[in-house]
């Protein structure tokens, strides 16, 4: 059943009892042309674009838990395209354009809200570097604005404008098209759209081994039996290295780290944008329910535990109050963690691997939600054609050997090596 005004009205009048399952509950077949491991945003988007743009039909997505249980359901949903270095600038802008049409394309409301993202500057030099960034963006056809202190004060009156500030606010960079989306809806929307194109979405199916013959992938061992596959795409976020180990690839430039996020009790509308603090690690937005959703730094040491450390709770709260003293009385409702695959240059990997038929999409550090649509497009292109998508040619695994790193730590995720 399509989501339409008519169907919503009809279902509303009949107690909402007639909606079908969002995607079918499949038992795995014995063999697929392409198997995607990991049913997060990137895996589901890849499966969708493989079916939609490349006409492949015999595709499965294997998810060890439930759809939406990984980072796609744990992140703080900031979407922006204010990157400085190629290919990031063009890749993330392409993703932004896909976001702008995504609800229509999937026939599923992903609640993309272009409320604007503001990063505060705390010195003249920092504001200069933001002007440089804004110029690079504009030269690439991406809008960006620089606000001075007085202009910013009119937009964000609730920041600490007093002269007690150790690093007073000088201004900001603003991207108006940036914003947030509803994380679960992104997973569910891609899952539903892929399912309708015949993709088998198989939950509670953990991959435990990768079968190889003469250096080529032939299939997978899973908790729901053996599955043969011509091509396998890995989209397992924080578990990239674990899956690669199963194929004998033990030397990836990736470490897994935990990142936390926080939400306060709900309050009336206060934060109308995504606001990031340029003097420390802290960023914030307000959910539709009214909770202030915010995050900060990684815990800072290798971790596969999806729970965070109290030291970071304190650090992030300190940064929050330094920028926005008015939120100090609020109570935290929840905090949680997600495991991310961090690369040394803080940029992702979309690449073939030394094993024939095995492809890798990972290393998204803590910025991969915004990339979901473009990552799906580029990875589907690689899986279907065997060729790098032009937008993602810079994300190959061999860049660490050839020295073509994309050191974007200034705007993107911060690897602990920063």
């Amino acid at each position: 059943m399509r989501n339409s005004a008519f169907n919503i009205l009809r279902q509303g009048l009949t107690g909402n009892r007639g909606w079908p399952r969002t995607w079918r509950d499949r038992t795995p077949n014995r063999r697929y042309d392409v198997v995607i491991v990991g049913g997060g945003g990137h895996g589901l988007a890849t499966a969708y674009y493989l079916a939609r743009r490349h006409g492949l039909r015999n595709i499965a997505v294997l998810e060890k838990g439930h759809i939406g249980g990984g980072n796609v359901g744990r992140n703080t949903t900031v979407i922006r395209s204010n990157y400085l270095l190629p290919p990031n600038t063009q890749f993330y802008e392409h993703s932004m354009q896909l976001w702008e049409g995504l609800s229509q394309e999937l026939n599923y409301n992903v609640m993309f809200s272009q409320r604007g993202q503001i990063v505060t500057a705390h010195s003249e030099d920092q504001l200069d570097s933001f002007a440089h960034r804004a110029n690079v963006m504009r030269a690439n056809g991406i809008e960006a604005e620089i606000l001075d202190r007085a202009q910013l004060r009119r937009v964000l009156p609730y920041l600490d404008w007093s002269d007690r500030q150790r690093f007073p606010i000088w201004g900001a960079i603003l991207q108006r098209r940036a914003g947030t989306a509803r994380h679960d809806a992104v997973a569910w929307g891609y899952a539903r759209a892929a399912d309708r194109l015949g993709v088998d979405i198989i939950e509670n199916c953990e991959v435990t081994g990768i079968r190889l013959e003469a250096g080529r992938v032939t299939g997978l061992d899973t908790t729901r039996g053996e599955i043969a596959a011509d091509r396998v795409g890995l989209t397992v976020a924080g578990h990239t290295t674990q899956l690669c180990h199963m194929a004998g690839i033990t030397d990836l430039p990736i470490e897994s780290h935990v990142l936390q996020a926080f939400v306060t009790e709900p309050v009336k509308p206060l934060v109308h944008h995504v606001v990031a603090y340029g003097a420390d690690h802290f960023y914030i937005s307000q959910s539709d329910k009214g909770g202030l959703v915010f995050g900060g730094s990684l815990d800072g040491y290798n971790s596969f535990a999806s729970r965070g450390n109290l030291g970071i709770v304190r650090e992030v709260a300190e940064a929050a109050i330094a920028l926005m003293p008015c939120i100090a009385p609020l109570r935290l409702l929840r905090h949680w963690g997600g495991i991310m695959d961090m690369t040394p240059d803080a940029s992702p990997i979309i690449s073939r691997t030394p094993v024939e038929g095995l492809y890798l999409n990972g290393g998204w550090c803590y910025g991969g939600f915004k990339a979901t649509p473009a990552s799906g497009v580029c990875f589907a292109h690689l899986l279907a054609t065997g060729e790098d998508h032009p937008l993602a040619a810079g994300y190959r695994l061999d860049r660490f050997r050839t020295g073509h790193l994309i050191d974007e730590a200034g705007a993107g995720p911060f690897a602990w090596l920063q």
């Binding site: 578990h239 290295t241 674990q242 033990t250 030397d251 990836l252 430039p253 990736i254 470490e255 897994s256 800072g300 040491y301 290798n302 971790s303 596969f304 535990a305 450390n309 109290l310 030291g311 040394p344 660490f400 050997r401 602990w416 090596l417």
Partner: protein, 88 residues
């Protein structure tokens, strides 16, 4: 909070320490001309889910570099030795 038993100072909260990453990666000799060895040292990581040997420096204490064995899932801490006494 992790609690690291420093051989000099006794058990201390981990925020007195600075993390130094995987200790099991061998550092090539300073005059090693082989780019492969340097590539492996700088980039390649095992990233184990489980026991991990890692460097921590007790910056707000004795300032010694330590090699700590920690489980990356449970955060349980095993042996802690002085880095200078440890062989990879």
């Amino acid at each position: 909070m992790l609690r690291i038993p420093c051989p000099c100072c006794g058990p201390r909260d981990h925020d007195e320490f600075r993390y130094g990453g995987d200790a099991s990666v061998p550092r090539p000799a300073p005059d090693d001309p082989d780019p492969e060895a340097w590539h492996a040292y700088v980039y390649r990581r095992q990233n184990p889910k489980g026991a991990h040997r890692e460097y921590w420096q007790h910056v707000l204490g004795c300032r010694q570099w330590l090699v700590v064995e920690r489980d990356t899932v449970s955060h349980r801490i095993g042996s802690v030795v002085m880095a200078r006494e440890w062989q990879a």
